[in-house]
Amino acid sequence: MHLSALLSLPASLAFLTFTLASASPHSYTEHLHLLPLPQSHLHAHFNFTATTPLSAYESSHFRYFPRSLAQILQHTRTKELHLRFTTGRWDDEAWGARPLDGTREGGTGVELWAWVDGEGSTTVAKERWSELVNSLSGLFCASLNFIDSTKTVRPVRTFEPEGHHGNAKGGLQLLHGMLPHEVVCTENLTPFLKLLPCKGKAGISTLLDGHKLFDATWQSMAIDVRPVCEGKAGEECVLEIQQSVSMALSIPRSMRERHDPIPRPARIEDVECDESKPWNGHDTCFPKALTGEPAWTLSKVFGHAAKGACDLERDDQAFDVTLEVPSDRPVNATGASELTFPSTTRRHYRLSASSSFDLSLPAHSTPLGQNSPPSPPLYATRQIAGHGQERGSMHTTLRNPHAHPLTLVYMETLPWYQRPYMHTLRLANGKQEKMYYTPALDRKRGTHLELVLTIPAESTATLTYDFEKAVLRYTEYPPDANRGFDVAPAVIRILANNESPQFAGSYVRTTSLLLSLPTPDFSMPYNVIILTSTVIALGFGSLFNLLTRSFVLAEEVPPSPLAGVVRRMRDLVKGLLGKNGDVAKDEESSEVKDGKTAEISRYMREETKGKANGIANGDADLRDRRARGSP
């Protein structure tokens, strides 16, 4: 039941896109999908889609498409863009498959990938990518500008363009970057809402409140821009932007009063005690395990009710909110008209422009085991094992719970200071079909590894390799050096194979990791030791020099045997020169270099400068001086 429901979610989105695209090239629609999850969680998926015809886009004529973003895309020739801001973890053990098969979520932190028109040149593409990340950094108040060449990779198999690029596809280049350490926060939500036509002032976007969104157990904000051509002859292609916010809220936590969010111990009257225990009494209470779903209302979960509707351009059949609960469950909706579609599990609501919309559901006890969520294509965990400052090993487990084998692309990007030993790469219980590997270059490029793997039915494959930790220069450490360094999550894409077509195109991401590197002690005593050592070394060096060196006059220096040899050689050369006359200029200058006194070499240097003015003149002068100087 749930499987079909969740699978039909992308289908309903596609349906929306289709209706909009056909109605008008400039279109805007928004949609909220609510689905209660097991363990008292609620999944909310906000989707805001705007389109603009490509011709209007090229002539900078925008209605719903955000101009600020469009100008960046135009300037950097970005044809397709995917930007993700994610925090928290999706609990796939409890909640099952990821929403929309994981296609609208990213790894922890920020993830960005785009197809840029590089006009056939990698350098141009890189320059445009750099401009893109820097501009987006300003637009979204995120540190996207830290996606430099060391964090950028060019995936081969993991991503496919979602849009229709026609003939231009050949010239496009895919670039991908991740910032696992980026903390997604309200400052990223505000610019996100600003891109919407209603700016979060009306419609479902009024529900997006920083306090609740970032208190979610898992949340992912996504922006996807792609060109869409429906393929009908003569119809113009449109550029589509999908902004989506997907989150899993804990209902008890979200239902707390906003002015007092502290989870104080409940009053004892509110705790459900297990009275079957023999010791149950007035001061002893064994809490009953929570089954089912607590009562919730939309206004409490999101902090306030949805205000009005963002009614821009839509037909009468469009709906704003879908609630996915069994039809026998009582639901109380206010401020909206319920639309009836032939569905047993979904209710659709259409917001009214003048009133605020609220939903309230009473507590519901689901007998355990009845609604098990759809199982995800794959369970993946990734850990760093080992200890110490020198080496470690990476350990990934991929568990296929299904009765058929899975083919997938496993991609990971490692920072350059984590150097994998590829000869230690081992895959147990799986088959490696292909490997795409770009080794790291110190301070220039990170490691990029893509593996095409097949995991047999109902088995767990483990991928392990050892790595070495590089020692950084002390200026390369961040201010919180002892925290460790974040390693970006691995991205897994399920490929289509004959036996498991239903998961093709699903994405699963692992959690990010913390890599501890050898860290110098940056404390004050350390700095003091460094400074004093430097001062002492300088002071000692010069003092030692003064004390141990004996100072004598130049005349007192005994002639060294080498000087005698040099003099004899010189005399020999001089004698030869005297015979050959003044023809060999080169020989002469080299001879002068051997000259004994500093005076001559200084003159020579002046001479080489003077050569530009008049060589003959200078040479004559030099010879003159040499004649005087030699005894």
Binding site: Q39, T87, G88, R89, D91, E93, T108, G109, P180, F214, D215, A216, T217, S250, P252, R253, I262, P263, R264, P265, A266, R267, I268, D270, V271, C273, K277, W279, N280, D283, T284, C285, F286, P287, A289, L290, T381, Q383, I384, A385, G386, H387, S393, H395, T462, T464, D480, A481, N482, R483, G484, D486, T511, S512, L513, L514, S516, T519, D521, S523
Partner: protein, 618 residues
């Protein structure tokens, strides 16, 4: 100029040849005196929280109210589970954890040491911080059986209540792992070993399963030890245990945080090493210092926290002591506050000291102040070794009268020149006789290799035969030097070379060890200190006295004495078993240092003394 001339003239002075033993004695005295100075105010410091992010005791703790009712129920439940078989008990704990919303898993482990098997299962659950990114984790430990082998009823119940309470907060920046091992030593060890490796291949001595569930990098661990039964027991103070394996210590900030929260915020007195009454007098400070040195030098686990420290995971145990007016909620609030403080950390604990000696819960000696004691002690061996090396290169005829006073006979003199300076010295004093190194070096190497035989015996014999093995080792140890001295006839020079090489090795090893485990180096240094003073002597009385002092301070005798003084009740067999477990399961170096470093040096000392008897007989 004049000074250097005098120094030159000193080359032949009998004073110089006699000096090293006195210097060594001075080193030993300075080393002991140094330790005795440490408890003074001038050499120790008040503890302070160094990491600004910790903010100990700055948060309001909410643990209380209905949580108290739940705690009582959990304590009853834990008691009920304790009456059930092992499997049902684990299943019961796993169910409570799962019902509180934790991800749960378990890990069986088995160790096989000295014919004894240790089996158990680690049960654990993870509170996934709702806003955490899975990169870091902190651990709340409550071993099912505490270090004294009592069932930790209240500790486990409190940990379960706290886990349920913690899972409601959204403030956690790190995951919280609740770990309930079957025992206090080997369970945490197996867990933390498995956490840091991909898989541990089973060996004859251990079989540990891999962990099915992991979180991020471990930041800190706090263990609860509160064995009060189902009807509770109020406590008077908290004893904080901090020693890790092999004498490694947790960051002082973690200890300070716990102490300042418990005593500052909650008003619970904190003690160390079970010193319930601490008047902050010199005597009390010294006794805490001595306890600290003793536990650190043994290097064995002192609680469930010990296993974490070698992995650079700072850990402490909070153990309730006495009968007072603090109840479980106070301990719960201390734990809550400590976890809130650890949660504040942006970086791994690194700011404060890792090397310290505590005098009481808020006074410590830092490494710069105490390290010289062990170094000076190690220096006493090196000094003696250098003196012996010089003597070994000198002629018998010259050295013998020098040892017994100035020679009366006419000595052939020679002038020594250094730059413009000149001095008149006995001719033979500047001549060096050839040192015969081969036999001493081979003997030293052989004795060091022999040291692995008692080490092997003490770690691989069965429980029943361990004591017999020690008796045998003692007998062989006492006979070995004499038999070696009789079979290998060493000349005076060779004996001196042998002792010199042995002492130089001992000095270097102890100095190195002092940087890793200060207390062990200090204790071994003190016990081995007679080795720097024993000499080959032709006087049979002196030889007998030296042999007696060596026999008293021999490694096997030290084991007997240690058992009599510190573990009179446990019996020798139990002590030897614990030592063997320490080596095989916990990886403690103590036995290696005793049999591989101290014992060979002691045997060499015995050979040197014994060779005196031989020379006298000749």
């Amino acid at each position: 100029m004049a000074l250097s001339a005098r120094l030159l003239a000193l080359r032949g002075s009998p004073f110089l040849y006699k000096l090293p033993p006195y210097l060594s004695a001075l080193c030993v005295l300075v080393g002991i005196g140094w330790i005795l100075l440490l408890p003074l105010n001038e050499y120790s410091r008040q503890t302070y929280v160094s990491e600004n992010a910790i903010l100990p005791g700055q948060v309001h703790t909410y643990f209380g109210g209905s949580e108290h009712n739940i705690f009582r129920a959990f304590r009853q439940e834990v008691y009920a589970l304790s009456q059930q078989p092992e499997d049902a008990r684990q299943a019961g704990i796993l169910k409570i954890l799962a019902d509180s919303g934790l991800k749960t898993a378990s890990q069986p482990y088995a160790y096989q040491v000295a014919g004894e098997s240790i089996n158990g299962t680690n049960v654990y659950g993870i509170v996934q911080g709702p806003r955490a990114d899975a990169t870091e984790a902190m651990i709340l430990l409550a071993a099912w059986r505490n270090f004294d082998d009592q069932i930790n009823y209240s500790g486990v119940a409190l940990a379960l209540t706290l886990a349920r309470y913690f899972s409601r907060w959204s403030i956690w920046s790190k995951d919280i792992i609740l770990l309930i091992p079957s025992d206090s030593t080997y369970g945490p060890l197996a867990w933390v070993d498995a956490y840091h490796s991909i898989s541990i291949p089973p060996t004859s001595s251990r079989n540990i399963s891999a962990l099915p569930l992991k979180a991020g990098a471990l930041q800190a661990a706090v263990a609860l030890d509160y064995p009060a039964g189902p009807w509770g027991q109020r406590f008077s103070s908290l004893d904080i245990l901090y020693d890790g394996l092999n004498g490694a210590l947790p960051n002082l900030d973690l200890l300070n945080t716990a102490v300042s929260i418990a005593s500052g915020q909650m008003g619970i007195a904190c003690t160390l090493h079970d010193h319930a009454t601490h008047s902050d007098s010199y005597r009390d400070r010294l006794s805490v210092l001595a306890s600290g040195l003793a536990t650190q030098s043994l290097g064995h686990a002192t609680g469930p926290h010990s296993a974490f420290i070698p992995y650079h995971v700072d850990a402490i145990t909070l153990k309730t002591v006495g009968d007072g007016w603090h109840d479980e909620m106070s301990l719960g609030r201390v734990t809550e506050s400590v976890f809130r403080s650890i949660n504040n950390l942006l970086e791994h604990l690194h700011q404060s000291f890792f090397f310290y000696i505590l005098l009481n819960a808020n006074r410590f000696v830092s490494v710069g102040n105490y390290l010289p004691a062990a170094m000076v002690l190690a220096g006493s061996f090196t000094t003696s070794a250098l003196g012996l090396w010089v003597l070994s290169g000198r002629d018998d005829v010259l050295v013998a009268p020098l040892a017994g006073g100035l020679a009366k006979q006419k000595v052939e003199m020679e002038t020594v020149k250094l730059g413009g300076d000149m001095a008149l010295v006995p001719k033979r004093s500047v001549q060096t006789i050839e040192r015969e190194l081969f036999v001493p070096a081979l003997l030293l190497l052989g004795v060091h290799i022999l040291g692995y035989i008692p080490l092997w015996l003490m770690t691989s014999l069965n429980r029943e035969t361990l004591a017999l093995g020690l008796h045998l080792t003692t007998a062989v140890s006492l006979i070995l030097p004499i038999s070696l001295a009789t079979t290998i006839r060493l000349t005076r020079s060779q004996a001196q070379i042998l002792q010199s090489l042995s002492l130089i090795l001992l000095g270097a090893l102890l100095a190195t060890l002092a940087t890793l485990n200060f207390s062990l180096a200090l204790v071994i240094g003190l016990l081995a200190s007679p080795l720097a003073f024993v000499r080959r002597s032709s006087s049979s009385l002196l030889t007998a006295a030296q042999a007696l002092s060596l026999a008293i301070t021999s490694p096997p005798v030290a084991v007997y004495a240690f058992q009599r003084v510190f573990y009179p009740a446990a019996g020798l067999e139990k002590l030897l078993l614990e030592l063997a477990k320490g080596w095989s399961a916990q990886g403690v170096w103590l036995l290696w240092v005793a049999w591989g470093v101290w014992w060979p040096a002691w045997v060499v000392g015995g050979v040197v003394v014994g060779s005196g008897v031989m020379s006298a007989r000749r």
